[in-house]
Amino acid sequence: MYRQPAQTSKLLPSKRVVTHRPHVPSPHWLFPGVQVSGELKSSMKRGFVETVDLDNHELGGQVEVGDGQWEAASTSTTAAAVKAPTAKSQVVGWPPVRSTRKKALDLKKSSSKYVKVGADGAPYLRKVDLEMYKSYEELLTALEQMFTSFTISGKYMEQNKKQRQALLVNGILVDECNHYVVTYEDKDGDWLLVGDVPWKMFKESCKRIRLMKSSEAALHPDHI
């Protein structure tokens, strides 16, 4: 049997109040990759495992592991203190609900919000479902993919990721020759620059989207 290293029980008291805070609303299982394992201070002797007193039990004798040729594997830890709540990404595969089931229920519950998207120089309008995206970056990346002349080359993306992020956030898409300003028409009929208000607010008030060449955007009467 095993000796339960002292450190383990110290770090993981049976009450476990450390890991479960009922009064904190955000679920801690939303943290990616949380492991609250103790530091197993190894020292497994070659070929033997020490005996242990399991709480009230007495387990005598020593157990020989294998044929003595086992190397003492230095047990590692899985790092990680509990991270502060991010409330962002979910743990993969938890709760264990199959994706077919998730999809089927999602389809029923979520509404879709399709808005028209036009771009200067593009002969056809497109439509996007704003409910499909969780942030401006996701939407603008999708728009980028939709209007292929705006696709940024791989090299550009790698080297200028930060710059590109900044541009995306400010509602500007870039292609080789033009800057496009992403604007939208809100419920009141006004044309605004994408990116100023929180995403959810934008989603609710956006009626249509237009990608304007920045040279023209400056001249557009509504933008003065």
Binding site: Y2, H20, V63, V65, S74, S76
Partner: protein, 584 residues
């Protein structure tokens, strides 16, 4: 002994063996003596391969020359929850190629969690003249084009079941590929498809197949079309509706009611997407005959659910969303005394706050009121040791107990203690328990109970539980019949695994992800146990590029007589005696 064995002509022995269908019995016969081994292998017709990488097609075909039915399983169970990366494996094509040349009289293929391409389906369609049954359960990689090949070529097809597969749905035209002369359909399950099919083609197909017993439609078939189909197939035993909604017209309800009441053999209902509750009464007339009801996609509130289940006294299996709530489960416990299996799925699994009033109480009621209940899958947000002890005492007949408390590491909500004692009661009282999934806050003590009492356990699923290697050691050393063990996010490391290495050869497979097993230990296991495939799955790059003591992301260990496989993607490595030498 030898004299006796050889004094029976082979034909007589073959005839005797034909009464033994289970694989276990067949394996036992074949070990009696050489001549029995020979006779048995020539007359075994059904093969079950629980892990497609445990044996190779060549080895199978060499031993069993005349097989008519084969079942193959591919990816580990946790693939259902996206824990197995895309491209891991489970390709069926090499199997189909081998089977096509060795078994021209093959009639049945059942696949689970395998990657099936259109090419594979085409090969099946062209290779087996008497092909009768194709079940693709949780498979992926194929499109409706592949289905068109099957429909067009398999003249004797009786069963086509796409159970929860991920199909690339290009169009609904594939259904029209069943020729007009084709009349042998017995069972069709297309519930997982998305595209509309030609309703007239579907009606004609249903109408010309007099032996049709099971029809599971997909969401794109609206309710007003259902009546027409049912009129053509009143002999149905199993029905999966399409979308259970239509524009509110006065005739829809009456048409549907009369169509359904004409189906006097109907025992099983499923489907029920997009339910409009107004149309629920249409099924009331057949409720008394129902043994199986799958409402797990149906958004129906508990009052309507209660009305429904109260009319199903013969119900044996119920799958439902947690909208049923405790009050609905109370009603179930009163009305459905023959219930054997209950699954309660979460309607909103990603929110912390309970959106419905479903607690441990519902499960207690059912365990009290339904004496034949054997199999449970239950998602809830709170549990107590007291409740689990009560449930265990009420229902010692559980063979399958899967409890999922939605937030990991949730303690007993009354005492804030771990749920060790509660699960301990489950394994102690339920002596025939073969499958167990645990959740909530659990220490190594819980595993001590499981190891001590879970002697018949064959499959165990653990997540976010335990304190140390001791926990894993209890399970590996105590559960004598363990075949499949799957673990995620538990602090189990090298010690328990290495100490119980020999145990791994007695199991089908072990999955561990986000645990503490080091690369060094994996290498060791792979080197010392040649009959195990020790697969390290790590999307961060080859583990040799990091210190050996660091844990691997995921680990999949399974026994195999086929040796390491060669179809792995670049983030999976098999540990064996060459792994130290092999280049990344």
């Amino acid at each position: 002994m030898l004299k006796m064995a050889s004094s029976f002509p082979e034909e007589v022995l073959e005839h005797v063996f034909s009464f033994l269908q289970s694989d276990g019995d067949r394996n036992s016969i074949s070990m009696v003596c050489k001549s029995w081994y020979e006779i048995e292998r020539w007359c075994r017709r059904r093969i079950f391969v629980g892990n497609c990488y445990a044996v190779s097609p060549r080895i199978l075909i060499r031993r069993f020359p005349d097989v008519r039915s084969i079942t193959l399983k591919g990816k580990p169970h946790f693939a259902d929850f996206n824990l197995v990366p895309e491209g891991w494996g489970g390709y069926v094509y090499p199997w189909i190629v081998a089977l096509a040349s060795a078994y021209p009289w093959l009639e049945e293929i059942r696949l689970k969690r395998m990657v099936v391409t259109d090419e594979s389906l085409e090969l099946i369609a062209k290779s087996f003249k008497n092909f009768k049954l194709l079940v693709l359960s949780s498979c992926e990689g194929f499109s409706t084009d592949g289905l068109a090949s099957i429909a067009a070529n398999c003249r004797n097809l009786q069963e086509l079941d796409l159970h929860e597969s991920d199909v690339e749905d290009l169009s609904g035209r594939w259904l029209s590929h069943f020729p007009d002369t084709y009349t042998s359909l017995v069972s069709l399950n297309i519930a997982c498809l998305g595209s509309e099919v030609s309703f007239s083609a579907l009606e004609r197909l249903v109408g010309r197949c007099p032996n049709l017993r099971s029809l599971r439609l997909h969401r794109a078939v609206p309710l007003d079309r259902l009546s027409n189909l049912l009129h053509r197939a009143p002999q149905l035993v199993e029905l999966g509706t399409g979308a259970y909604s239509a524009e509110l017209r006065p005739d829809v309800l009456s048409n549907l009611s009369s169509a359904l009441s004409a189906c006097r053999e109907l025992k099983s209902l499923s489907g029920f997407w997009d339910v409009v509750p107004t149309y629920l009464p249409a099924v009331y007339s057949i409720c008394p005959g129902l043994t199986s009801l799958n409402l797990s996609y149906a958004i129906i509130q508990s009052p309507d659910l209660i009305k429904l289940v109260s009319q199903c006294p013969n119900l044996q299996r119920l799958w439902v969303l947690d909208y049923i709530e405790d009050v609905g489960l109370d009603a179930l416990a009163v009305s459905c005394k023959d219930l054997r299996e209950l699954r309660v799925f979460p309607s909103d699994p990603f929110v912390l706050e309970a959106n419905v009033s479903l607690t441990e109480q519902g499960l207690i009621s059912v365990s009290e009121g339904c004496p034949k209940l054997q199999s449970v899958l239950y998602f809830c947000r709170q549990m107590s040791n007291e409740a689990l002890i009560t449930i265990a005492r009420n229902q010692p007949n559980f063979t399958c107990f899967r409890l999922c408390i939605i937030e990991p590491r949730t303690p007993d909500y009354l005492t804030l203690e771990p749920l060790d004692v509660g699960f301990g009661a489950i394994v102690e009282h339920c002596k025939d328990l073969t499958r167990l999934s645990v959740s909530g806050l659990l220490t190594d003590r819980a595993f001590e109970y499981i190891g001590t009492y879970g002697k018949k356990l064959e499959m165990l699923s653990l997540a976010f539980a335990g304190d140390s290697d001791l926990g894993l050691h209890h399970v590996l050393s105590g559960c004598d019949n363990l075949r499949k063990l799957e673990i995620r996010d538990c602090p189990f490391g090298d010690k328990a695994l290495l100490a119980n290495a020999a145990k791994l050869e007695t199991m089908r497979s072990l999955w561990m992800s986000s645990c503490s097993v080091s690369y060094g230990a994996c290498k060791l296991l792979g080197q010392k146990l040649p009959r195990l495939n020790v697969e390290v799955i790590d999307e961060r790059g080859h583990p040799a590029s990091r210190p050996e003591s660091l844990p691997v992301e995921k680990l999949y260990i399974y026994r195999s007589v086929a040796g390491p496989r060669f179809d792995m993607p670049n983030f999976v490595w098999t540990m064996d005696e060459n792994s130290a030498l092999r280049l990344t």
